[in-house]
Amino acid sequence: MPQRLVVVGNGMAGARTVEEILARRGDFTITMFGDEPYGNYNRIMLSNLLAGVEDESGIFLNDLGWYADNGITLHHGQRIARIDRFSKHVYTSDGTATPYDKLIIATGSRAHVPPIPGIHRSGRGYHQGVFAFRTLDDTRNMIRYARDHERAVVIGGGLLGLEAARGLQNHLSHVTLVHSAGHLMNAQLSAQAGDILRGSVEKLGIEVVTGARTTEILGKHAVTGVKLADGRTIPCDVVVVAAGIRANSEVAEISGLVVERGIVVDDQMRAQDEPDIYAVGECVQHRGETYGLVAPLWDQARVLADHITGKADAAYHGSRVATKLKVAGVDVAAMGLVAPERDDDEVVTFAEPRKGVYKSVIIRDGRLVGATLVGDIGKVAFLMQAFDRGLALPEERAELMFDLGGPSAEVSPAEMADDEQVCNCNGVTKGTVVSCVQGGCKTVNGVMDKTKAGKGCGTCKGLVAQIVEWAAGGEVEVDPAASWYVPGVPMPKPELMRAIREHRLTSVSSVFAKLTPGGDEDAKSKMGLASLLKMMWGDEYDDERDARFINDRVHANIQRDGTFSVVPQMKGGVTTPAQLRRIAEVAERHQVPMVKLTGGQRIDLLGVPKDKLPQIWADLDMPSGWAYGKSFRTVKTCVGSEFCRFGVGDSTSLGIAIEERYQGIEGPGKLKLAVTGCPRNCAEAYVKDVGVVAIDGGKWEIYVGGAAGAHVRKGDLLVTVDTAEEVIRLTGRFIQYYRENGNWLERTYAFVPRVGIDHLRSLLLDDSEGIADSLDAAISASVAAYKDPWQERSSPVTPGQFRTSLPLTVLS
């Protein structure tokens, strides 16, 4: 027979614990008591509700149907008044008894309302116009009242007070924040960080008064102001109290449980000396700590659920509290110590008050023990990990606070947990990589082949290499193949190109025959060689179609189900009603399963079978957009000076001109470009392989090596030029240099830092090696040789070029 489980409290902690128990298929008959007359909602989102960015329906976690579906009896709007630990019953205030075998107390916390004269009116609760900020009802009442009033004072400059102040701005015109401590968020932030946050909050139009104790709420019938200890009064008609929270532990206390600042629990979340009573969430005190944030609550719920469903070794050891929040519109992250505690604690601080940016880290014995970020929390993910796991820190401490452009802050392989995921594309853990090395595979590429680590987006390759080196303990076998252009031909790119020229090798098969030991072909090298030979020989290239990847054989991008995507050219992202109409008609006629706007400002027809490609191209009668090749893809633009009132350059015309000239040019990796009409960067030019930005005075900046994919990097400024013609010429020169010198599949975001922007400038602008003219000539030749591949629709190049490979009609 299932045990009777009673849960007192239907907030986030109670409901989450029940969810965890259900997920473990715990055998219980569950009854829940909730004080509030609702299902369970996300209390954290009340700020959003107040700020008007979320409506009520968006904050509910479990509606009443969820309780019914899971066989839970919910008594909402009923408060438990007493627990009889000996007869094992709980009693509601009207005396109804409910028996339990196991009891969970999850009564949470309530707003702490300091005893300020005038805050209450005898017999009528709060003074009219005074609100706490804790529940859905508080929030609803506050919104309703604030609408018809003008000035609010928020008492309390912690997290909740800041959120309340920001939210109230949505409903009335003047908001003043009164805080008794010397600086905002004093529990989490140092004085300097708090002052910088204050600057940002004041910029939002919130008045901030710190070091100010409220001594009286003024007003006879309704609130008219607050009085401070220094004698000042601040006129207002709404007062919101957000001065912290207190655990709701009274019921536990009068029922005889041990209560200090919260209900005292052990590592299994059991109330002290009570084998059948548990407590979880903000009402709890564990190892002397109470928590007012949501993350520890999740940890506690998991442990409690594990324990109550019979997992013997489940234990809660406390939570290392790291918070990342948007406080009143300002990003704030804080973890661990607020200030150094020992003489030899190492503190690194960066402050830029004008921008509202503050960063500080506290390091003890080489480990991160505290960090605070305000205004810019770009490094928070790494810091949280380092704090949580006690990772080794980079010698260059500044890397803890800034991306210095190199590889992201390095995590030492020795410090990583075995189950930590290294390759997020293919789900490969450190443990898998290590056991592969221990199994005898001691080259980086070998491990990558076997485990598939690094075979997705490729951003983790460096980390995989480090782990292999570490696991091999110095016995890592030098992998000569690492420097080869493709794995099947044992030469780096410059040597390979010399040999190809020397022997006049114009086809992929001739490269294999001449340059590999035994003349062996290698399937995985064909695509890279095809790209290289096409670039080197142009019209003289002997185009063996089997050397091409399927995308390049059929000029479309293969999808997970073996169908293809069709993206017609839409230069600069500019289209016409006629073009749209034609695309719509084609999509409808061929019942294209999905029509999608791409990130490159084009239209993608997805789910097209291979054998339908020629017909669709014919019906579209538009050139290929090259959304499938390791090639020049597209130029994204904004409307620039033509329409935008901020535009300072004609970005659309320039984008179209660039795309017209360099369309479809092959390279070692794909090339995504953008031209944007002003530094607001609507076309995202700073994060493109080549990005062009119009600046005032009719000039154009050219950025190279940017990326916003798996790897994010702002491009380096190559040069600022005066004319669109120069932009076009230098873009081509850069592309050609990349084509000739980039490794296969090396995107510009890796290529540009490898070569170095200064070196690129001297090569491409100062012509330090005298190659500029030949680069210009080579790219011009490639441009001149361009043919739209979709013309192959009328005369397929190989037998069955567009014959489907799946699924097929059966041969009779």
Binding site: K524, D546, I558, G800, S805
Partner: protein
């Protein structure tokens, strides 16, 4: 069973054929020989006839899993593909042998 003329498959490429309920990918290697394997990648159902080959392996176009053309074995840890016996007769016809 005659699948078709060998010239239906370009040198170094594969084409898919459906025989009864099975889908077979036939590859024409650059040395002139032919190989036949089940046409669907056991990983995520990729069309192997669209894959690139050399004289030993075929690489699935979806996630680059690699299989031995002669044995059907995966170079990783995927289940093997079925191998079918194929040959080209004196009239350039592609023949699937009875299994």
């Amino acid at each position: 069973m005659i699948l078709g003329d060998i010239s239906d498959i370009p040198l170094g490429e594969g084409r898919a054929y459906a025989v009864d309920d099975t889908q077979i990918a036939v590859f024409r290697l650059r040395d002139g020989s032919v190989r036949a394997l089940s046409a669907v990648c056991p990983h995520r159902g990729g069309p192997l006839a669209d894959g690139q080959i050399d004289l030993k392996f075929v690489v699935c176009p979806l996630h680059l899993n690699t299989f031995d053309l002669a044995t059907g074995c995966s170079t990783g840890d995927l289940p093997p593909l079925t191998v079918y016996a194929v040959r080209v007769d004196d009239h350039d016809q592609l023949i699937l042998e009875d299994s």
